[in-house]
Point group: C2
């Protein structure tokens, strides 16, 4: 879409948005995907200015905030059935106002927005993003590609805060249930932890610590077909995993 | 203040608020105090309807959200120098709208508000709350007294979510630095954990686990003057405590 058309689209959207949405509040979902041992994040490249953004949006006047973020994610990215957690509120003045500086101040999108950030971690091969009409594309971008792309507003900061939350979370909550196949090897689980933490882990320490959590079941089968000695397969112990989700990994 | 006066006060505040504040956004600080082995929470009893509320407020049009919550806490409760953390956003429709049902819909305070919750845990003997002109009183209320008092809107739910966040936090972050005297005994530290978790802990298990965290320094002195054997004194190891705050108590 050319610049003129994308501007007209934004003006049309402003008229409609004033009718439907609360002013000053937005929600931004940060969906992390894990695939091929790498973390990705779901982003949309907007028609206007061709910058990348989280697939966020506004809250309807008669809609609960939690419902809004699910609707936004579905309408902006075509993604459903995701369990999202709030992780931060981004409320600096001027965090979003300059993006629409070429427009009149009466534009709905140009007002000050305080945005609520939600995150989730999913197997990216199971979620297929679909762009909405405001975006040229909606796709998975590898975290290691983020330095090279043009991210709008403070969305880089929002993604970093989400990642930091995820890193803190794996110190006290189990992770991996909706990310790994039902049966997995310890090297595969280690790759997931390394992708989230962004650093290599010592194999012996990792195996010892992860086994101590008591959330794994060792299966009576091995992964066949590799060039090396067949590695043992594991699955999560449903009951212990749920208990650890509820109570945390460390009990007082 | 009688009902008529308190209503007039709310009407005057509405006129002023429309000038100064963003619509639809509020912030609610949940300040937990620890004193005499008990947890308390800082609440204000409003002139209007005499219900208890968190000392919350609105965000100025030209003010960062983080600055707003500090200003609100100072102006509503006279409390300064508190480090607050965001823990949840309360965005159900009709969560706050009915409180002012006796007023016209044009009242600023009656619109829909999405509230950002912040919490902190402090030694209540070091913070002296002062009520603002909208409140009859601002004071520490013991958690065990909460079932008996009349809390407005969804403020009971907000307090419960803050407490739940605090409970989760002590499984992965050190706690106690700004709550205990510089030198403390293990029984005193255990009382703090028990107050937060709301349950008694096994002494042997607690001592073993807390020592394993590596954040305590055993001092070469004992608490004198009690009827029992003088208990050992401890202090936090500054360096280890800060490291654990940054990285969490469990490292991968």
């Amino acid at each position: 879409m050319n610049e003129k058309d994308s501007k007209e689209q934004i003006l049309r959207r402003s008229v409609e948005a004033k009718e439907i949405y609360l002013p000053h509040i937005s929600a931004d979902p940060v969906i992390f995907g894990f695939h091929q041992n790498e973390l990705k994040v779901l982003l949309a490249r907007m028609n206007y200015r061709k910058q990348w953004m989280l697939p966020g949006g506004y809250v309807k006047k008669d809609e609960d905030l939690d419902d809004a973020v699910l609707r936004i994610l579905e309408s902006r990215a075509g993604v459903t059935n995701v369990f999202l957690e709030e992780f931060g509120v981004f409320g600096k003045k001027n965090r979003s106002e300059y993006y629409f500086e070429d427009f009149d101040d009466s534009l709905f999108q140009k007002q000050r927005f305080i945005s609520v950030g939600y995150y989730a971690l999913y197997n990216s091969s199971e979620l297929s993003p679909v762009a909405d009409e405001m975006s040229e594309t909606c796709e998975w971008i590898y975290l290691k590609q983020l330095p090279e792309i043009n991210l709008a507003m403070d969305h880089r900061e929002i993604i970093e805060k989400a990642l930091q939350t995820l890193r803190e979370k794996i110190s006290h909550k189990p992770i991996g249930y909706n990310l790994l196949p039902e049966k997995f090897t310890l090297p595969e689980l280690q790759k997931l932890y390394e992708a989230i933490l962004g650093k290599p882990l010592n194999r012996g320490n990792f195996y010892r610590k992860i086994k101590n959590l008591g959330i794994l079941k060792k299966l009576q089968e091995q992964r066949r077909g590799g060039a090396h000695k067949a590695p043992d397969l594991y699955s999560f112990d449903d009951h212990q995993y749920r208990k650890a989700l509820e109570n945390g990994l460390r009990n007082w």
